[in-house]
């Protein structure tokens, strides 16, 4: 069943066309990643999907009762607003204190519950955002470049955390990412965006596509090599052997 889908979605700002003819569909428990250069409309597409922006063309269909947890690219909390981590988590809605405690433990911010949000480090802040999004037990978790500004180890552990909690909660994940290596390793479906969908498919299919290589060049090839390498050791996925043969 499709949680959310778009048909012929396009966006114009003034005379400028930001997105055109976007058709996509996200199924339960699927991890979908959107990659694309700066200004390719990634964030705009996410905003359309979460309902923060109405498309100027086409339709977005959200399944009945499909809840969305959203982790924004950045959240500037004005210093004039006092907000503890614990109060931030309570903004997710009316949940048991024990639920909040468990979630805080899960993302490792339990020692920070009494701290002000503005005093957290980048990694702690992102985990607090993630915890709040997950507390509502969403069917779809949407993340907009969630690891921007984090260092390499923090990026790796953040993605491991997302994969793990996805397994526990059973939600689908839609994310915009610049971390090509991670994308190639953990996504079920990759959408390469540049105002329109250039190409899409499994990570292997996308990284072999000429459109993708034209956009990302050498680095992308490197990511593909890494991907093949790691997965060849573990299991024989039909997609991968196909690509090898072809």
């Amino acid at each position: 069943m499709s949680l959310i889908s778009t048909r012929g979605v396009g966006i114009r700002f003034g005379g400028r066309r930001i997105l055109r003819d976007i058709n996509l569909s996200i199924r339960e428990r699927e991890i979908v990643t959107i990659v694309g250069p700066n200004g390719s409309g990634k964030t705009t597409l996410l905003r359309v999907l979460i309902g923060a922006q109405s498309p100027t063309e086409g339709v977005v269909t959200r399944g009945a009762g499909v809840s969305i947890g959203y982790v924004p690219q950045r959240l500037a909390i004005d210093r004039s607003m006092p907000l503890t981590v614990s109060r931030w988590l309570r903004l997710a809605g009316a949940h048991q204190a024990s639920d909040r405690q468990r979630m805080a433990e899960r993302v490792d911010i339990v020692g920070l519950l009494g701290e002000q949000m503005t005093s957290l480090s980048g990694g702690e802040f992102q985990r607090a955002l993630l915890a709040q999004a997950l507390l509502a037990r969403p069917a779809l978790l949407v993340l907009d470049e969630p690891t921007q500004g984090l260092d390499q180890p923090a990026v790796a552990s953040f993605y491991r955390l997302i994969e793990a909690v996805r397994g526990e909660i059973g939600c689908a994940v839609l994310m915009v990412s610049h971390d090509l290596h991670v994308v190639m390793r953990s996504s079920d479906h990759v959408i390469c965006l540049n105002g329109h969908v250039c190409c899409e498919g499994t990570p292997t299919v996308v990284s072999a596509a000429p459109e993708y290589q034209a956009l990302f060049g050498f680095g992308a090839e490197g990511a593909l090599a890494l991907y093949r390498h790691e997965h060849d050791h573990r299991h024989d996925h039909a997609d991968i052997t196909d690509t090898h043969a072809g």
Partner: protein
């Protein structure tokens, strides 16, 4: 007891402070100080309106304040930024209102009362209107509290949760217009924003959550009203400005306290 003008003044001030505290927090969090000014200055236009058409002051001011804030919201970002537009609107409304009042035939208006308030002249009917307005503002804020906080933090986050940012913005705008209409008798058009911002700013350094800040702001406002009223009685100073001076004194004390606390 309500015959005593001092008691009526105190009750009117308390009603205003209770609503202005929490609403003022949103004005501070959303950086709407200038927006509040423009809405408040439109009150003078509202005074002219109510005198010209023999409406109640409350209705005239409410209509003018609402029209001003909705107009600014609709036009913002088209050609001019919000800031520029508010600059034009705030001073335009004030000047236009003063000119309009002077045109009214046969009325000699005590403008000072509308600019700086005349809390000692609050009647029993005024008192009822003030309290109903204050309670309406508090109920609006209470009902939409969670949504308003989310929209203030991030409109995208609120949208993902199914809240309409525009609707919440309208609710705040409405609450602000009601508060302006209630406050004009008490502190006057020029000092309304002060009653919104100063108690909230004083509360910031003493609070850890949005809710505690809202409650402390209401208490700071209450203390400013009572002490300002007493001070103006003993020293025979203008009441509205004296209450604002009392609020400023509390703000300075709170700021000093937070500096000392952090230094330890």
């Amino acid at each position: 007891m309500l015959d005593d003008f001092l008691i009526r003044a105190a009750l009117a001030g308390i009603g205003l402070a209770l609503a202005a505290g929490p609403l003022g927090c949103f004005v501070v969090w959303r950086r709407m100080a200038y927006f509040g000014d423009a809405t408040a200055h439109a009150a003078i236009l509202g005074v002219a309106l109510s005198l010209a058409f023999s409406l109640s002051l409350f209705v005239g001011v409410l209509v003018a304040a609402l029209a001003m804030s909705l107009g600014v919201l609709a036009l913002a970002g088209r050609i001019y930024t919000m800031d520029t537009l508010l600059g034009v609107a705030a001073h335009g409304a004030l000047a236009l209102g003063l000119v309009a009042v002077s045109f009214l035939p046969g009325v000699r208006v005590d403008l000072m009362a509308y600019l700086f308030g005349d809390i000692l002249a609050v009647s029993q009917l005024d008192l009822a209107v003030i309290w109903i307005g204050a309670v309406v503002v508090l109920i609006l804020l209470r009902l939409r509290w969670q949504a308003l906080l989310l929209v203030t933090l991030s409109t995208d986050l609120a949208a993902a949760r199914g809240y309409d940012a525009r609707r919440e913005q309208l609710i705040l705008t409405l609450a602000l217009a009601v508060l302006v209409a209630v406050a004009i008798k008490i502190v006057g058009a020029l000092l309304i924003t002060a009653m919104l911002i100063i108690p909230a700013a004083a509360a910031r350094s003493m609070s850890r959550t949005p809710e505690s800040m809202a409650v402390i702001a209401a208490i700071v406002g209450l203390c400013s009203i009572i002490s300002g009223l007493s001070a103006s009685f003993y020293w025979n100073t203008p009441t509205g400005p004296t209450m604002i001076v009392a609020a400023i004194a509390l703000f300075v004390l709170a700021s000093l306290w937070s500096v000392v606390k952090r230094g330890r």
